[in-house]
Structures are given as structure tokens and as C-alpha cells.
């Protein structure tokens, strides 16, 4: 059984990389290197997804070939993605060149050795997700997004590949005064930890040996209400209550040996973030965030701690630790940790590296471990277009897997068009 899980893990890495529809990937280093909260550039309170007027305008001027040299006259007089005063629209479209899902299964060579076969590289559509933001009155806003399936013409309307993914988001946000908490209600992602929207990361893994076992995949969203209060620029407190349908769907009861979350269990969130900043003179400003969140439902609870520190327009280092406890019946815990470093060589060229580890512990686990190291860069050739190649090494330490050194290495590249 362990060997099959090794195969699964080895071969599911490209699978999961490729097939994840994403709510526009959040880049937390952007907040750390600018000293601005995510909401400066994104409508979502924890980043990702549709951009605000500021975010849109910044991206209009981000690219190796800047907008005024692209000769795209369509955007010349445009300073925002609002189509009318009270409504803005946007969209993300993504494709990826990666190992295909329908790769050959493991085979046995003539010499009797097991042969693990990498699927061939191919270009794969990942996401087509339109957004809309409406301001019916100053104090209330409505947001909606929808992940359109690439099987749309085969009758599949929504891009849901993995358990826990929602078709999109639809919520109302009310903010009556800066001195009062803002409220968010509807279907959205609870603000747990740092938002990455990258489910190749180990942050929410429930089993290190099983690559597809992410508790909160990209586009994870629940129906609920969340309050956010930031009385001073340096402190933010969030609390929320939600349904747990997607969480119940994502947590693998077979793996746990018991039902961990019933869809009817209420989910809860608490999150505190401290935003320190240090100014040592011109171009020597440092920003950061230090925070913790707790999120759970039923027997599941995820305690997360996160730290980020950025140097204005230079780079950032971010660390996050998650402790996923699946309850006394499941007798299983998973501890996931990641550290990411990014250097802003230019606004249009940002290399990054990331190291990660996931460890499963408890009576109902085999002390499985996974380590990964990823290096790549974000390259913006022209505004609103990003190319992101990455190379990833993965190492498994599982009972039954005696492989020494790295278990696999893989290269892939993502093309992201957004507006």
C-alpha cells in the first residue's frame, strides 16, 4: 500500500499542479515589499482575485515593455477597470505547460526493476475566471467571481476538480465607518493564515504521502459571515462563522478512519495580525506581518502562525507553520511548514525560492514526511501578462519508500493573463 501511495505522490505532483483552477494566485510578498495591506490592491480582504483601481493601475505600469511602449491604445486613457462608476469587471485566464495527467502508470522493466514514468509535457488550460465588483451604495459592495470549466461545452459549467473547491465567490462587504469592524457575508474564503492559492504548497496537506490531499485547495470557499477590525494600521483582528460543506468534502474520511467534519458542523475563525514597520531612512523601510489564526469545524482544527518581513521594493521573506489536528477519533495530526524568499530585481522580474516540509503524526498515520524545494521567478513581459517558470524537487520519507535523495524533480511554466 505504501508503494502505491509513493506512486500517487510522485505522479500526483504534476497532476495537482496542472489541474488546479485558481482564484488569481495571491502574492503575499507584494504586501510585504510595499508595506500596504492586501486590500490596497485586491478586493478580497486577504488578497488574490480581482484588483482594485490602485492594483489595476500598478499592474498597468508593470512590465518589461511598459504600457506606453506596447502601442496598445485600448488602455491609453484607462486608469481603472471600472466600466461605470459603480461597477468594475476583471478576469484571469491561465494556462500551464506541465507533465500531462494521462501519463503512463508505473511499469516493470525487462530487468525486473520498477520504472516510474513521467508523463510528457503539454500545455493545459487552468483557469478562466471573470470577476465583477458592484458598489450599490458607498457603504456596501458586492463581489462575484466564477471559475468557468474548460469542459463548458460538454455540459460541465463549473471548474471543480478537487474536493473543497467552490465554483467561485459571491459576497457582500459592508463598511460603515473606519472605526467600526467591516462585515463580509456570503460565499468566500475564510481568512486563514497567509493566502497563497497554490495547492502544490504543503500548507494545508492532510497527508504528505498523498499529493491531492489539500484541505483548502484554491477556490476553497464557505458560506459565512466574517468581521474584520483594524482600529490602527498595525493591528487587525478577524473573526467569522461559516458552514463547513467544502471542508467536510475536502477532508478525507477514509484516510482519517472516521468522519472528522460533518457538513452541518459550524466552522469558526479567529485571526490576529500585527503589522510592524521600521523606517531607517530613504529606501530603508521594512514592513512585515506577524500573525496567527485558528480555523476549525467538528473535530478539525488548524492552528497557523505566520511571519513576513519585506524590504521596500527589494524583497521579502515569509514563513508559515500549520498544525492540522483531525481530532481524537482520527488520532492524526499534520504539521506543515514553508519558508519563501523573493527578491524584487525589478518590478517585472522577481525570482523566488521556497522550502517546505510536511509531517504526519499520530496513531492513524505512518510518520510520513515530504520535503520540497522550489525555485522560479515571476516575469511580466508586458502589463497584465505574467510568465512564471518553476523547478521543484520533492523528497518523500515514507515507510516502504527507501529512495535516497530527492524523489523527483520537475519543471513547469505558467502563463497568466489578467485584467
Amino acid at each position: 500500500m505504501r508503494v502505491v501511495l509513493v506512486w500517487l505522490a510522485a505522479l500526483s505532483i504534476p497532476t495537482m499542479v496542472m489541474m488546479a483552477p485558481l482564484e488569481a494566485t495571491a502574492h503575499p510578498r507584494m504586501s510585504a515589499t510595499s508595506g500596504a495591506p492586501c486590500t490596497t490592491c485586491h478586493y478580497n480582504s486577504d488578497g488574490g482575485g480581482m484588483r482594485t483601481e490602485i492594483g489595476w493601475d500598478i499592474q498597468k505600469h508593470t512590465g518589461l515593455i511598459e504600457h506606453d511602449r506596447t502601442r496598445i491604445s485600448l488602455l491609453d486613457n484607462r486608469t481603472t477597470n471600472r466600466v461605470v462608476d459603480w461597477m468594475a469587471v476583471g478576469a484571469d485566464v491561465r494556462a500551464m505547460r506541465v507533465r500531462a495527467t494521462d501519463g503512463p502508470p508505473p511499469t516493470v522493466g525487462d530487468d525486473g526493476d520498477l520504472v516510474l514514468n513521467l508523463p510528457s509535457q503539454r500545455i493545459f488550460p487552468m483557469q478562466a475566471q471573470p470577476y465583477v465588483w458592484i458598489d450599490p451604495i458607498d457603504q456596501i459592495s458586492l463581489y462575484g467571481s466564477y471559475a468557468i470549466s474548460d469542459q463548458l461545452f460538454d455540459g460541465e459549467l463549473c471548474a471543480v476538480t478537487y474536493s473543497g473547491q467552490a465554483c467561485g465567490q459571491a459576497y457582500m462587504k459592508a463598511s460603515f465607518s473606519p472605526r467600526l469592524p467591516s462585515l463580509q457575508a456570503g460565499v468566500f474564503r475564510p481568512s486563514t493564515g497567509i493566502r497563497h492559492d497554490d495547492h502544490t504548497m504543503v500548507t494545508y496537506l492532510q497527508d504528505p504521502s498523498f499529493g491531492l490531499s489539500t484541505v483548502q485547495p484554491p477556490n476553497y470557499a464557505e458560506f459565512g459571515v466574517q468581521a474584520s477590525y483594524q482600529p490602527r494600521y498595525w493591528i487587525k483582528v478577524e473573526a467569522g462563522g461559516y458552514r463547513s460543506d467544502q471542508l467536510a468534502s475536502a477532508i478525507d474520511d477514509n484516510l482519517m478512519g472516521t468522519t472528522v467534519v460533518e457538513g452541518s458542523d459550524p466552522a469558526y475563525l479567529g485571526r490576529v495580525t500585527y503589522y510592524p514597520r521600521f523606517d531607517f531612512g530613504p529606501e530603508r523601510s521594512f514592513f512585515g506581518w506577524v500573525g496567527a489564526s485558528v480555523y476549525g469545524a467538528g473535530d478539525y482544527r488548524n492552528d497557523q502562525g505566520f511571519v513576513g518581513m519585506g524590504w521596500l521594493d527589494r524583497g521579502a521573506v515569509m514563513m508559515e507553520v500549520s498544525h492540522l489536528d483531525f481530532g481524537s477519533d482520527a488520532q492524526r495530526r499534520t504539521i506543515n511548514a514553508s519558508t519563501t524568499g523573493a527578491v524584487q530585481v525589478s518590478e517585472w522580474f522577481v525570482p523566488h525560492v521556497r522550502v517546505e516540509q510536511s509531517i504526519a503524526r499520530g496513531d492513524n498515520s505512518d510518520e510520513d514526511r515530504r520535503r520540497a524545494a522550489t525555485a522560479g521567478f515571476q516575469f511580466y513581459p508586458v502589463p497584465f501578462v505574467k510568465i512564471q517558470p518553476e523547478y521543484r524537487l520533492v523528497q518523500y520519507h515514507n515507510p516502504g519508500d527507501e529512495r535516497a535523495g530527492w524523489s523527483m524533480g520537475q519543471y513547469y511554466v505558467q502563463l497568466h493573463l489578467f485584467y
Binding site: M1, V3, P105, L118, L255, W348, F379, E402, R403, Y411
Partner: protein, 163 residues
């Protein structure tokens, strides 16, 4: 000023091209390390008297079976027959075995005579050929099938790996 900025852009472009040109080189670094996962190839028998295989006593029953490192799914397709498939569905490389944690057991459709993977409903005939496409994406690769000798009277069988 203008020429400076143009020179800067030119230098930037050259840098970007240099960086991107490294990408194809990195592809040659792709690998899957299978050292230590080698299997010992030998045909291994099974018996319906064994509790691990008792589900095969009825038609449609399935059981897991390992030959060295190769994981096999056994399916009782008729009174007289047991088939052996690779347990990894070639659609998404997910396990179809009833014995693996996190897996969804494949089911044998007697009427259509096909094995249906419960992850995305991919269907394979007795030779492993794809006869039903999955509900998500598509699958072209056949499912690997292993020869089986099965004696319904004694309930004993042997599975062979292909040469």
C-alpha cells in the same frame, strides 16, 4: 534621457531573454528516482479461503494484491474468472484499490463488462482498453492487465507479471 532609458530597456530585455533561455536546460533536470523501489518479479498465488481475498467469492468482488512493488487490483468478473489490473488509474494516476487509504474502489460493471474507476468514472474493458471516458478530462492510456490462472472449484489462483 531617452537613449538612457532605451539602453536600459535593451539591457533589461537581454537579461530577460538570458533568464528565460535557461528554462529548457532545466527541463533536462527532470527525473523520478526509483532507486530502492525495485520489485522482485515472481508470480504469487491467492486463495479465496484467505480473508484478504474473501470478497472475490462473489461476482463483482474486488481485492488488493501485491507482487513485489507492483500493486494489483483483482476483480471477480464471473463465476469462472478473476482478472488482475494495475491499481493505478491511467487517467489521473489515482488508486482504484479498496485497500488503500484515500482510494475509491473501482467497480466491475457486469452488463457492460468494464471496470469503472470511481474517481472520475473512467471505464476499462477486460483488456484494459478505455471504453468510457472520465467525467473530467480524458484518458488515452490503457490500464495495465496481468494474466491470471484461476480455478473456481478450488478457489485458488495465480497472477503473473508480463515478461
Amino acid at each position: 534621457m531617452s537613449s538612457d532609458s532605451e539602453a536600459m530597456s535593451r539591457r533589461s530585455a537581454i537579461k530577460a531573454i538570458a533568464v528565460l533561455s535557461v528554462c529548457p536546460l532545466i527541463q533536462s533536470c527532470e527525473f523520478v528516482n526509483h532507486d530502492g523501489l525495485e520489485s522482485e518479479l515472481e508470480a504469487t498465488g491467492f486463495s479465496l479461503d484467505d480473508p484478504d481475498f474473501e470478497d472475490l467469492t462473489s461476482v463483482g468482488g474486488t481485492a488488493c494484491f501485491a507482487l513485489g512493488a507492483v500493486e494489483v487490483l483483482l476483480v471477480r468478473t464471473s463465476e469462472q474468472e478473476v482478472l488482475a489490473f494495475n491499481r493505478i488509474c491511467p487517467h489521473n494516476s489515482l488508486s482504484m484499490g479498496p485497500c488503500d487509504s484515500g482510494a475509491q474502489a473501482a467497480q466491475w460493471d457486469e452488463q457492460e463488462e468494464m471496470l469503472v474507476c470511481q474517481w472520475h468514472q473512467s471505464g476499462f474493458d477486460r483488456n484494459g482498453e478505455v471504453v468510457q471516458q472520465p467525467t473530467v478530462g480524458s484518458v488515452d492510456e490503457p490500464l495495465q492487465v496481468y494474466p491470471v490462472e484461476f480455478d473456481a472449484e478450488t478457489g485458488e489462483g495465480i497472477v503473473f507479471l508480463p515478461e
